[in-house]
Amino acid sequence: MKGRLEDMAVADLIQHNCQDRKTARVQFKNGSQKGELFFKNGNVVHASMGNLSGEDAVYELINWEQGTFDLAQEVEAPAITVTRKWTSLLLEAARLTDETAPEREKQKEAERIASLTRGEDEKFVEIIQEFSVATPQQLVEQLSKKIEGHRITCITQIRGGNLYWYASSAVELEELVEQVNQFVKMVKTAADRLKAGKIQDNLLITETDYVLVYFLGRDDFYLLIAADKTRANLGTLRHLARVYGERMLSALKLEGVLV
């Protein structure tokens, strides 16, 4: 099915596909911009738009007022980047639209300035973007894309709740984090009883995977990375966890998640 966003808004497409519990892909095009949404069992499970993915991409796509869409049934998502229920997604999108409306003009100006540099020195711009102040979610995604055989990256807290995450393959995130949380609690207990000092990390190696838990400056927040053992390099994995762990700690403090 094909159509125009002027006739059917992105939010309406989300509502229809979720209510009908469709498994489908919707591709959007607006000039040179492209985006995709994937649905499975009545929820949005993956979204991408430009460099964005996950909820950020959903919230951007929802603001598109013109362009075209192309819906294909029974297409599976290549990754799971959205876990929030579709109703909650639409509510959050509405809230963000209200909140950011005055910012849109500023954003357009920023895009215009960015377009001036395009073609001049794109590599330089990419480097600047990578090392400029990034949000925890952006850091999670940057880190994930640097890991060969990446499965999942997640910033989580031991008391429960995934704060930021990115999955490269279909993973039952809630189950994974719940199980790893239990494991981390046991490791912490061992450390406490042994008066082991400050915990830095714990790496579990299985027949197929590396599961690295890197503590973010304190022992109740951690970065979880799972990667395919046959493709990932262990040294690189630990190095990236250290480098990005420091940056995530700063970003979490900036966002007020960590004091």
């Binding site: 039952e172 189950e175 994974l176 199980q179 790893v180 239990q182 494991f183 046991m186 490791v187 207990t189 061992a190 450390a191 009883r193 042994l194 008066k195 082991a196 000092g197 400050k198 915990i199 830095q200 990390d201 714990n202 790496l203 579990l204 190696i205 299985t206 027949e207 197929t208 995977d209 599961v211 040294g235």
Partner: protein, 124 residues
């Protein structure tokens, strides 16, 4: 501790630097059947018991998540690094503890070199 294990422990110790703190062969019940430790405040038997529990939970976790068997766990703090590895059929674990500044790559290489021989030396 059997003579075979004593000999192997001596060899492992000789292959390691001054970073060595302790090593234990521990059963799933958390009780060590062989141990070697430097004089320090580190309670190696308590560590062996705890890390046996950690490894058992790791096996359950990896089974539930279809990640294959848990084969090794590396735990690092600012005072030590502890490597636990499953031996043989999984009925025993080898715990190797070294100072925080130890070369983990070297510790793993030592474990690779001796794990089969240690498994073979466990009294049956």
């Amino acid at each position: 501790m059997s003579d075979d294990l004593k000999t192997l422990f001596y060899e492992v110790r000789a292959d390691m630097s001054d970073d060595f703190i302790a090593m234990n062969i521990v059963g799933q019940d958390g009780i060590s059947i062989a141990r070697e430790a430097v004089e320090s405040d580190f309670n190696d038997q308590l560590a062996a018991a705890h890390f046996a529990m950690v490894m058992k939970l790791a096996e359950r976790l990896t089974g539930n998540l279809n990640m294959g068997k848990a084969v090794e766990n590396q735990f690092s703090t600012d005072s030590f690094v502890a490597l636990s590895r499953t031996l043989g059929d999984g009925s025993f674990y080898w715990l190797l503890v070294a100072k925080a500044q130890a070369n983990v790559g070297l510790l793993r290489a030592v474990m690779d070199q001796y794990e089969l021989r240690l498994w073979g030396a466990i009294p049956s």
